[in-house]
């Protein structure tokens, strides 16, 4: 199966059509800029109104590296990696996951780089933002440096959820260092005990950079039918079609829904707190099955937080209470539903004769058809002539603003809407300029969200894919130059 849509953009497009479920796209850290990943996940959090997560992944395959063309990777041998006997393979894994740890740290710092109340809209002093509440992150690592702050204000959750699937020591350390949830794949109770032991060891070896305890979820693959015999028959049929038995890193449960429901928590370590509502769905294995994630150990004593490691010269931020996505066991308050707003087909702009074809082209005096006017709409989100002091001005970042703007442009039959992009906040006199509207979403991600609430209008954005000081400087072989 090949040809899959970008997970972050897909999740962002799904967000306006859902109201409660968390959305956790997989994004690699091997071939992406941490800054873009961070603002992308922040934007998903805005579009979903607080339901965003990020499943951190590394990409170890040499052909993927050739595709992106920014580095060459030696061939990865998963068997050798698991054995841990080949120094080159071990070094590769440590490098990839070390980079992932740095990327998660950068993302978390960027998510905190605006305080929650940074936008003040103070008409008296003319200031849109209180620049004292925006913070450079000044991350300096072996692989990249990122200055910050984010271009995107702190999202509804503050810190979107970070999920890491892990099977061995190095990824366990990534999870302990930076994840909210670690996904594990035990095959039985003894295996789970061993995994928890390894996690505990990891918790002693690395500093946890997250305030909350690490949660451990067991990943299982399920195939359900009305009877256990039917489930086995379906599995046999799929295996026969596939040509070989389905294998997975997880336990495969082919059974009735009731039996799966009974087995899953048992597998997920009964001596820990159970969470009956914890199963979420994610893209699965070769048969298009569902891989459920079951919450197991809610609080691991070995994974107690030891405080975020951050530069003490930088002010620490107070985080707002986390949204319930971060604790699936807690009762989730009812979220305001935002069903897809249908374009108003009865708007007076349209002729009542309901012609579905384009209008007849008018002609000038000599019978020549008139040139047709093309209009695009520019979202006046971030610039120094956006009126923000007016009482009618609304949020420049809430998804409701983008929805209103886009649907209104579509009502006006515009050809396309246009979003500009900038990757750093304007500075003046060495300080962040505080008089203009600042704080914009990741362009591609917000356009994916807008695509979900419009039907006809074209969507165009400036994508600055170059590297700027705010964003990062990866130790690249080439001097980057601006590209639009």
């Amino acid at each position: 199966m090949r040809g899959r849509l970008d997970a972050l953009l897909l999740a962002t497009a799904i967000a306006p059509h859902t109201s409660s479920i968390g959305l956790v796209p997989t994004i690699t850290t091997t071939h992406t800029e941490p800054f873009h990943v961070a603002t992308g996940v922040q934007t998903l959090d805005y579009v979903s109104e607080g339901r965003a997560g990020w499943r951190v992944q590394v990409s170890g395959r040499a052909h993927e590296a050739a595709h992106v063309g920014r580095r060459t990777l030696p061939a990865l041998d998963p068997a050798l990696v698991v054995l841990g006997t080949d120094p080159a393979q071990t070094a590769l894994i440590e490098d990839l996951f070390g980079e992932a740890r740095d990327a998660v740290e950068v993302a978390r710092r960027l998510w905190d780089s605006w305080e929650d109340d940074a936008v003040i809209r103070d008409v008296e002093t003319g200031r849109f933002v209180d620049r004292e509440k925006l913070h450079y992150i000044d991350f300096v690592g072996d692989r990249f440096t990122v200055e910050g702050p984010s271009i995107t204000p702190r999202p509804p959750q503050g810190q979107p959820l970070v999920y890491a699937l892990a099977h061995q020591k190095v990824p366990y350390e990534l999870a302990v260092a930076g994840a909210d949830i670690v996904g594990v794949t035990p095959h039985d109770d003894a295996h789970l005990e061993a995994i928890l032991g390894q996690l505990e060891t990891a918790a002693h070896d690395v500093v946890r950079g997250v305030d909350e305890p690490l949660r451990v979820w067991t990943e299982i693959s399920v195939l359900i039918e009305k009877t256990v015999d039917a489930a086995h028959a379906t599995l046999d049929r799929l295996n026969a079609t596939h040509g070989e038995p389905w294998t997975s890193d997880t336990v495969i449960l082919a059974d009735t829904p009731e039996a799966v429901a009974a087995q899953a928590p048992a597998l997920a370590l009964p001596r820990y707190r159970r969470c009956p509502a914890a199963a979420g769905a994610a893209a699965g294995g070769p048969h298009g099955d569902h891989r459920a994630r079951c919450s197991a150990a809610a609080c691991r004593r070995g994974a107690r937080p030891s405080g975020r490691s951050r530069d003490p010269s930088r002010p620490t931020r107070i985080r707002s209470p986390r949204e319930p996505l971060r604790d699936p066991c807690r009762h989730r308050p009812r979220r305001r539903l935002h069903p897809r707003a249908r374009p108003d087909r009865k708007h007076p702009l349209m002729t009542t004769t309901a012609s579905t074809t384009a209008h007849p082209i008018a002609q000038d005096a000599s019978g020549r058809p008139l040139r047709q006017v093309h209009l695009a709409a520019h979202f006046p989100g971030v610039n120094n002539t956006s009126v923000w002091s007016d009482g009618k001005a609304e949020s420049q970042i809430a998804f409701s603003s983008f929805r209103h703007f886009a649907q209104n442009a579509e009502r006006g039959k515009f050809d396309f809407l246009f979003l500009a992009e900038g990757l750093r906040l304007r500075e003046q006199k060495g300080l962040i300029h505080d008089l203009d509207v600042v704080g914009r979403p990741n362009t591609l991600a917000i356009l994916a969200g807008i695509a979900a609430v419009t039907e006809h209008i074209g969507l165009v954005g400036t994508l600055r894919l170059d590297v700027q000081r705010t964003v990062r400087t990866r130790q690249a072989a080439r001097e980057p130059r601006p590209a639009e």
Partner: protein, 294 residues
Amino acid sequence: MRAEEFVAVARALWDGWAPGALAANKKTGEFLSADALAAVDHHGAQFDVSGFGTLPRSPQGHPVIVQAGDSADGRDFASANAEVIFSLHSEFEDGQKFFRDVKGRLPAVGRHPDSLKILPAATFILGDTEAEARERSREVALLQVSPQTAISFLEQLWGTDLGGYDPDGPLPEIDPVLADEGVTRGRVRHVADPVAVAKAWRGLAEAEGLSIRDLVIRFAAKHTFVGTPVQVAEQINRHVQEEASDGFVIVGHTNPTGLDDFVDRVIPELQERGVYRTEYEPGATLRETLGLTQ
């Protein structure tokens, strides 16, 4: 250069999957048609990309390329690659000149004039009468350019703290400070001779009796179309009929409601004149909506 190569690689990746590459034939077990995928093997000054595109061909095949930027290089890039130019030439005569220049470059690269649309940015203020629109334009401009913004704007040219000056008073008599890098970086850039520019601004302000804030409004908050909905529609239509543009990128002055009045009041006037769609073509791609010829 980098943009040129960037677009070329993107196009190669977009072309990597043939239309109908996804066979997904359950009987034969064939998921991808044979030879449906073309490998990209690009090694250039800017990028190395080798492998297959990861996505099937999208509905448009090639999404529409929009370019903003106005240098001679930018115009060459646009004439070779872009399908829409987001320009800043919204004044009528200037627009005609730009239109002729850019469209005139197209035959040399084998392109039809209608394969590139020129859409300048345009702001607007509406009123029931022209006088009311002008008054409203002034009110909006005062909101756009606060006293603090006016001083900040000047500081970018002057390169020094002007906090002591009255935004409603005359321009500073002192000359700009040239050395201070940190302040000049910003919106007003590429000013070769700030002292001369300051002198010109001072002259303009004295001649027309403009305060600091008035002058900054003149530069930063001058609205492209100010008038009744009929007047604005007629001005837009004139630009298009007389080839000063193919249309406009409309920029509302506030968020997110800045476009509402335009949609409610100007669009019907354009539709009345038979120069603007009353419906989208069902299922049209952006390329089709724009009327881009291949």
